[in-house]
């Protein structure tokens, strides 16, 4: 087990290196110039050149990247071009809001996805099944920015069930979390449906019935635990897609999290902030995957991580 975790952490470092390199390279290649953004429209070429030199943007790419890596190793994520503060402090101040929304959002995703998947599997090939699958399809194909604004209008403006925006109470978190949950639940409901159908046909389900167990007990004690196994690694894979949606949803709902920070930073080409948020997201994704993979053998005793 220890060998496995150490090996996975070693891979994680390689992944983070790769992520930082690609992010940095992409930002270097895009035609937007952060120095021009900072200096404003009326700035002279000299001022712009000065700012460039100050930020180290006149150096060749490999030197810029190397410098960034060196700082990163000392735990220094750099300073924001715009806000003139440490990126780590900016991220730190917003981490809690984002984590809350992440946990609530994934919670709703699983709750909605698994319930609908179980329901669809039990009512297989009925109108309900087809309706639920159509719903999941619409959910996963809707762009977050359109769906978020639609939900905001419908539930906050029109029906006034939830506040329009803001942060702080459970009441505030519900609408953005449910929005994320509904939009992402389709992946899970489809997967749970098919693995439930597979589990329902297994021999041991027939055995469970032959023991005289009630249908409810057979489904919740025998079918669902077996069907849920492939969902666990799915959460690890999904979290990357989820964070992508989080950026948009936070911006629409005015949620003071990392997504909103990233959104603002992208608009102003605030390179250190963009790379910083990307790195933090990458760490979250890598850790979530590791945790998901470590959870699987706890549920399925047949899986031995050292042997896989």
């Amino acid at each position: 087990m220890t060998i496995y975790i150490l090996r996975r952490l070693a891979y994680a470092i390689l992944i983070l290196l790769g992520v930082s390199f690609i992010t940095y390279l992409l930002l270097y290649l895009i035609p937007a110039d952060p120095a021009r953004q900072l200096a404003g429209r009326s700035a002279t070429p000299e001022t712009i050149a000065n700012i460039r030199a100050q930020l180290g943007l006149d150096l060749p790419f490999y030197q810029q990247y190397f410098q960034y890596l060196m700082n990163l190793l000392q735990g220094d994520l750099g300073r924001s071009y715009i806000q003139r503060t440490e990126v780590s402090a900016l991220i730190g101040s917003r981490l809690s809001a984002s984590s809350q929304l992440l946990v609530w959002g994934i919670g709703f995703e699983l709750l909605i996805g698994i319930s609908l998947g179980v329901l669809a599997a039990l009512k297989r090939n009925t109108a309900l099944d087809r309706g639920l699958m159509a719903f999941s399809f619409v959910g996963v194909s809707s762009p977050h920015f359109i769906a978020s604004m639609l939900f905001l209008y419908l539930f906050a403006v029109h029906l006034e069930w939830f506040p329009l925006g803001g942060y702080g109470t459970t009441h505030h978190i519900l609408l953005p979390a449910i929005t994320l949950g509904i939009l992402g639940s389709g992946w899970y409901s489809r997967m749970v449906r098919s693995s439930m159908i597979e589990a329902l046909q297994q021999d041991f389900i027939r055995t469970a019935h032959s023991k005289g167990l009630t249908r409810v007990r057979v489904i919740f004690r025998h079918v669902l635990p077996n069907a849920i196994i492939p969902v666990i690694p799915m959460v690890g894979i999904d979290i990357g897609i989820f964070i992508g949606g989080l950026v948009v949803v936070e911006s629409v709902f005015g949620w003071p999290g990392l997504g909103q920070l990233a959104w603002q930073a992208i608009q102003r080409v605030d390179i250190p902030v963009i790379v910083g948020v990307t790195m933090v997201s990458a760490v979250v994704i890598v850790l979530a995957n590791l945790i998901a993979d470590l959870l699987v053998p706890l549920v399925d005793p047949r899986i031995n991580l050292e042997k896989s």
């Binding site: 027939r206 019935h209 047949r302 050292e306």
Partner: protein, 590 residues
């Protein structure tokens, strides 16, 4: 007690009475009757066998009694009376109270019949809790005594284990213990031993018999195996395509079968000791020489500090296969017989030497290996899995020509048609059809045609008839024999079934723990076995005749194979053999 004839005088003892049961699938036009007008009685302490081949409706009848028919089935007509109460009209909750408590059931496939992510103890406890038989310590005590009764060693440890940590035989014992937990009055056993080795089969049957005696259970046993019928049944129902062909006490059935189908079925069963004597065969040149063949798999390490280990699947195996000869390779699951077959096909890495037509195939790659494979081909156990379902028969049988670049499409087509008629599938449209349109026996013929395509000298057949019904088995074996005499083929015939081995083989090698323990001519090995393991194996073979019941008690002791896991680099010693008779070699005990 063994001869309870169901009649009205003994109605008091009748536990279960099935009357005119019919089961249909589907609606309207597509409606299919799978069980038609089945009637029988089951009494206390009696064993009733429902015998029949695949598709006879025997398993569905059992599921109907449990109220567990698949959803596609319509509500059965007729009556199923349990203590004179109609089960068919009972509600689902009422049936749930009867299942396991009054009627227990065990299934064919022990490997998949237990929940893989639940501990054995918890799965058993669930039954006790459901029927409120016992709780707490008393319940655990009850579970332990039940597991003891089915002779499971190290019970405390087993309770905490998961199904995958147990062998097939142990899992089936757990299934039996679980089904008997509430001491049901009826035990339905659906092919309980089909997936198990003969020695394990004998143990399981003996356990069922012991428990039956103790609890006066009525046992309804569903089987295709007339050997099991002869051994277990008091009364027999013979089914064929949903219709009850005959119902009779066991003696009548075997001594004076009434239905033509029963006679056919009994005649088709291969019986050990009934194969015709072999004609004298002149010495022929060898086509396959195996010397010191060993196959080892590395084991994954569980921790950094663990020394590397290997599984010795095949250990110092030697044999020679002559032209036109069939050598049987027999042994129980895990003995290394299939691994040997795969090594011969160069499908895995091995040590030692394998000479095909005098040419050592070890280390051959690419075109050299491809050239050798023309001479040695393989037929697999499961004809359902061995054919790609998305290819037509013409494509499947013609594929070897394509791979080896022989002929144009016109010639290939002609040759495929020729091959299909050789294996008895001359229908013109066979070539354009897909595997699922054929029966199991026909599919195995297609596999044989494919193996024959390149005119090989040697065919490795790995349990080629084990998945087939007995009547179909006989046809495929006949076909293999015909082809052998026609083309002078040599077969390496891998099987666990002694009667089939006797029927087809000229010489027999017995494998145990990765080694050959005895090899010789068919009659030497099967009729004059010298090695204790061969004797043990032969005594476990079920015999489809009356008054030849096996001595189950002697078989309850497992013959323990040596642990195949050895430290890496461990050099095992080759077995020493003594020659008992000309060509009859027996491993000497180390």
């Amino acid at each position: 007690m063994s001869m309870t004839v169901p009649d009205s005088a003994q109605a008091g003892k009748t536990l279960l009475s099935v009357e005119n049961l019919s089961i249909e699938f589907g609606q309207g036009q597509s409606c299919k009757r799978v069980v038609d007008d089945l009637s029988f009685n089951l009494n206390r302490s009696e064993t009733l066998c429902i015998a029949g081949e695949s598709g006879s409706g025997k398993s569905l009848s059992a599921l109907a009694i449990m109220g567990l028919l698949p959803k596609m089935a319509r509500t059965p007509s007729g009556a199923i009376l349990f203590h004179n109460e109609e089960l068919l009209s009972k509600s689902e909750p009422e049936m749930q109270n009867i299942r396991a408590k009054q009627i227990g059931m065990i299934f064919q496939e022990p490997m998949t019949s237990l929940n893989p992510i639940m501990r054995i103890g918890d799965q058993m406890m669930e039954t006790l809790k459901r029927h409120r038989i016992a709780s707490g310590d008393a319940a655990w005590q009850h579970i332990r005594s039940m597991l003891d009764a089915v002779r499971i060693p190290k019970v405390s440890e087993r309770l905490r284990q998961y199904p995958h940590e147990l062998s097939g035989g142990l899992r089936q014992r757990v299934m039996i213990a679980m089904a008997m937990l509430c001491s049901p009055q009826i035990l339905i056993a659906d092919e309980p031993t089909t997936a198990l080795d003969v020695t394990i089969q004998a143990q399981i049957l003996e356990l069922i018999r012991e428990l039956q005696k103790e609890y006066q259970t009525g046992v309804l046993m569903i089987t295709h195996d007339m050997g099991v019928v002869a051994e277990m049944a008091d009364n027999v129902v013979v089914m064929n395509r949903g219709v009850m062909e005959e119902t009779a006490p066991i003696r009548t059935l075997f001594s004076n079968p009434a239905a033509a189908y029963t006679r056919q079925l009994l005649a088709a069963v291969p019986r050990l000791g009934t194969a015709p004597p072999l004609s004298e065969r002149p010495e022929r040149p060898p086509v396959l020489e195996v010397e010191n063949l060993s196959v080892r798999y590395p084991m994954r390490k569980n921790s950094l500090f663990e020394p590397p280990r290997e599984v010795h699947a095949v250990d110092h195996v030697n044999f020679v296969l002559h032209e036109g000869e069939t050598l049987g390779l027999v042994g129980e699951s895990g003995c290394g017989k299939s691994t040997t077959g795969r090594a011969l096909m160069s499908m895995l890495n091995f040590e030692g030497s394998i000479k095909v037509l005098g040419k050592d195939i070890r280390g051959l790659k690419g075109s050299a290996l491809k050239a050798i494979r023309q001479d040695i081909q393989m037929v697999f156990q499961d004809p359902f899995a061995a054919l790609n379902p998305r290819k037509t028969i013409a494509e499947l049988v013609g594929e070897p020509f394509l791979i080896h670049g022989r002929g144009n499409s016109e010639e290939r087509k002609e040759r495929v048609a020729q091959l299909l008629s050789q294996v008895g599938l001359p229908e013109a449209d066979a070539m354009t059809r897909y595997p699922h349109q054929f029966s199991g026996g026909q599919r195995q013929r297609i596999c044989i045609a494919r193996a024959l395509a390149l005119n090989p000298k040697i065919i490795v057949a790995d349990e080629p008839v084990s998945a087939l019904d007995v009547s179909v088995q006989a046809q495929v074996l006949d076909l293999m024999e015909d082809l052998q005499s026609q083309y002078n083929l040599s077969y390496l015939f891998i099987s666990h079934d002694m009667a089939v081995i006797e029927r087809l083989c000229h010489r027999v090698a017995v494998m145990f723990g990765g080694r050959i323990v005895e090899i010789g001519s068919r009659d030497q090995v099967l009729h004059n076995p010298q090695h204790p393991y061969t004797q043990h194996l032969l005594s476990a073979v079920p015999i489809p005749a009356l008054d030849s019941k096996r001595d189950f008690r002697a078989l309850l002791e497992d013959s323990k194979a040596p642990d195949p896991i050895k430290p890496k680099g461990y050099q095992s010693k080759p077995s020493q053999y003594g020659e008992i008779n000309q060509g009859h070699w027996v491993a000497l005990e180390a």
